[in-house]
Symmetry: C2
Subunit: 626 residues, 2 copies
Amino acid sequence: MELSLTSGKKIACAADTSILEALKKAGIYLTSSCGGKGTCGKCKVLVKSGNVISKSRIKLSQDEIDKGYVLACKTFPAEDVIMDIPKESMLVVEGQVVTGKSKDLLALLHSTGTAIDPLTGRIVLALPLPTLDDNISDLERLRRELMSKGMGCLRVPFRFTQDLAKIVRKENWQVTLCTIHTEDCEEIIRITPGHKKTPQYGVAVDIGTTTVVVFLIDLTTGHLADVASTYNSQIRFGDDVITRIVHATEHNKLKELNHAVVSDINTALVAIRKAHHIDVESIDCFVVAGNTTMTHLFLGLDPEAIREEPYIPTANTFPLAFAGELGLKANPNIPVYAFPCVASYVGGDIVAGVLATQLHKKQELCIFIDIGTNGEIVIGNSEWLVSAACSAGPCFEGSGIKCGMRATEGAIENVTINRETLDVEIKIIGDNDTKPIGICGSGMIDAIAEMFLARIIDPKGKLQKEASSRVREGEDSLEFVIYSGEGRDLVLTEPDIENIIRAKAAIYAGFSTLLKEVGFTFNDIQKVYIAGGFGKFLDIEKAVMLGMLPELAKEKFQYMGNTSVTGAYLCLLSRNLRSEAEEIARRMTYVELSVSSSFMNEYISGLFIPHTNIDAFPGVKKLMEK
Amino acid sequence: MELSLTSGKKIACAADTSILEALKKAGIYLTSSCGGKGTCGKCKVLVKSGNVISKSRIKLSQDEIDKGYVLACKTFPAEDVIMDIPKESMLVVEGQVVTGKSKDLLALLHSTGTAIDPLTGRIVLALPLPTLDDNISDLERLRRELMSKGMGCLRVPFRFTQDLAKIVRKENWQVTLCTIHTEDCEEIIRITPGHKKTPQYGVAVDIGTTTVVVFLIDLTTGHLADVASTYNSQIRFGDDVITRIVHATEHNKLKELNHAVVSDINTALVAIRKAHHIDVESIDCFVVAGNTTMTHLFLGLDPEAIREEPYIPTANTFPLAFAGELGLKANPNIPVYAFPCVASYVGGDIVAGVLATQLHKKQELCIFIDIGTNGEIVIGNSEWLVSAACSAGPCFEGSGIKCGMRATEGAIENVTINRETLDVEIKIIGDNDTKPIGICGSGMIDAIAEMFLARIIDPKGKLQKEASSRVREGEDSLEFVIYSGEGRDLVLTEPDIENIIRAKAAIYAGFSTLLKEVGFTFNDIQKVYIAGGFGKFLDIEKAVMLGMLPELAKEKFQYMGNTSVTGAYLCLLSRNLRSEAEEIARRMTYVELSVSSSFMNEYISGLFIPHTNIDAFPGVKKLMEK
């Protein structure tokens, strides 16, 4: 059977092969956070003609079914099929979008005062030819040459000796070494014949609980070749880190979780490599940042003790691993550097975030908050760093929200509601003619703040049926129609709204409790760095209006995007910054908020918009009174 | 079908399984230097009753065939078989013989002034239990505890983190670490729960071109648990290192050679372990000494450049390898330390030999000679060390000699011929009632010297047919009957004698040429250390009479046995001595004899007994004149 895509591409697909699998084999990667089990509903495709057999329709609305949408993972062709892949189903490879991002990243790198000096180095050596009078062995010749160039300790893992004789002789005693610094030694990670002018790439990865983001970076220029992001397919075992630890330990499924995330990274990386025709051997190293549990699951470390008092990870700083040990699709000998973690609930993603903000070098008192599935908060400056964590849930990344999606092309990232006409204006990620396909975190924050000011919801988040014709009875609950299109309407349901309010309450409670613990108030804060997968755009005023962020002068806020992958980028390109990251992890202390009664009080007070204590939000109060 | 051994043991053997294979499966290891190809003739067994199908009879004499001998590797049972395994066919596990050897080795270790401090250490740690106030990670807890014990740099390979959480918790935070010192760091090679009082063994291996010797050593006491020796089954690809290098490179068979020697070591080690019920997990490390080519082949390093001018090995000092990388039957993470080599033709076996003699610490001028398939010579003292090599061939190890065998039980190690009656008296390795089954190197030297003095051979080594009734026409040439027994007669043939004379000529030429190169004469030498696989016994006077050794005062000679495995033993038990070995390899220089015309002249002069220049042997001259 044949699948004909509207792009013109034709793909063979056997009767017992799912459309998802057939597309994958043809190099077309769909989002599939449940791993092809038919439960996440992310791999929708539109069948335009041709009979298919669909074994599951979960997560498809009646309207979608009527239009011909099917789940690619559970659908098999019965004859030749003409079909279309909606953008929201594609595993994103960002293409041109990255040019701007690349410039920003390079500017950030330069702003740290560091030159490009990648994690792994390449050294080209022209060895003197051996003679009867200079007949030392190949390995000693290599060492002598390196010593003459001022290199001290050199570690040569045994495996590299086995082909050494052939390699040094292949291109007339010229060789290229690839090395990494470990335990006060340069360690060889690759020896190749000749002068390798081939491209050198590094991979920076943010392993979020919900989302995995992969950057492929040119190590010589610092340019971002491309970005791919996908849901962390561990989602199929549970939304949060605790459920996943339980799954890993009680069901003895550590390997399964490990394979899930490794295969997400592989899929994303292969998609980028293929799109840009980059050879697998051009990749020299990986830097991975994730929270402590994600880092453990990625490295295959037992996470059990993380969730039981006294909450002990196997490691906070990780010995260098190699791609081959972890099942990454790359040369098995290239190193994988995992960002050091601070404690069981403040991980390498936060260390990477601090590195990206350079908070650890600031004179003034700063706050950093990373809003992901967990919200982690760091307060401090060049003298001290204190961190804490609270659980926000995956809603801002689109998970658990009916029309939620990650901040990629087609996502509604900005919502304005005219307070008189109640007309809704939206901004979509992508070109001018991009059709909206879902709502990302920044869009949700906007929408709820605007709905609140327009009195479409009350301070508890309940939809007011009489307030607007856009409020309607949905399949299970009331919902608000943000966009009405040809495909399906994009809505926020009452459970969606409750979800988001709980998340924002946890974040605000985290802020205020940690500040109290260290003896400061919001007024002492000079700068608030906000990180998260909200895309390019987060309307701070709306986040304040929602009561997620404290009401401070607008110029004190700085939205930084995904600082976990940014930190990984910095670390990949600078050995100094790698040392700084390790220094940050060492310096940072951790405060356990869950044992604080103050946190629970703050959380409950935060379950209103903007807050039970409206006096903490004088600006919002004024707006409400209008 | 069933094989019944005269020991009473019964072994099942299918019709398509060779007797060799069936015995191996039952834990009975035969010598099989050709690897079961039916070409070495070493795996003879005696079939007493029952029909068998024998596919090859090469290397069996008509007499043996008549008596019922078959090659186990090429023989298959056609019905139940009653059979006997001659001692000479057994892979030797020495059993009680080692008690004396063990004492000698320990005495040698103590004489170096070194205490037992094995290559790999075990450290038992009782970690403080984690609490909410002391919640550092498992790995950091381990490091902190080691630092508090004064350990500096600790390298933890990534793979050891994966089970760390389980291991530390298994026996209430008590763990045993096994470590080895590499590149100024202690590197973890094993982490096990609890306080491991289990035995700790190390394996010392001498990889000779012809013979492989394996010692299993108790690392806590230094006692030798047992010894096994076997032919290096690379023999099937050629007798000397050059032929093997050619085979490895021109036929692309490096892997085959590598597997051959690794499997010899495995077979020997398994035989010892089974005989003494020692668990594989009790083995903590290997130390291997061999010549440069043998070390390369064992480690899987390309040996091609060793044989081509300017004769360059891949490495002379080898990064630590692990058992798993080399296919050794042991825990894959335990380290394998290969003795450093000096040059392409002076290897780790010679460095081990110098370590065993402690020549590198002597004030007086000494010579060390290791007589194996190659003869290597070291001259020097605590101030300087010069080495050279000459090719002796494998005859002293029994290879290429009709009734030759290694110096193990049943070997004739001493021969005396009454000059009047021409009666032959022999001494056999083993108990009083041990029957002779072959002739080892020391027996050959004795026999030829005695035959020369008794005028049974002339100075060129030609047998004098009329001299004795023991001289007879053999299958292909004249031969001298040393022992006439029930099984077969033990003889030295004329080609055997020529072989031995060529070997002794090469050794003597090596001595005298190297001495000349460094500007000394035999009279300057205070001590001559002789090493080789001659067994316990080598009659120096006979070796002088043969013209293999220079005629010096008897007390200047010291016979040391197999110093390669002795050096490996020392290195296994003392980290100081490991450093000394590395120091010896660094200090020793190498002189290439093959380019010296003097060497060829000396060699040709040495093709007489004792030497063309009889005046260099005044004592022998006097004896001859008697």
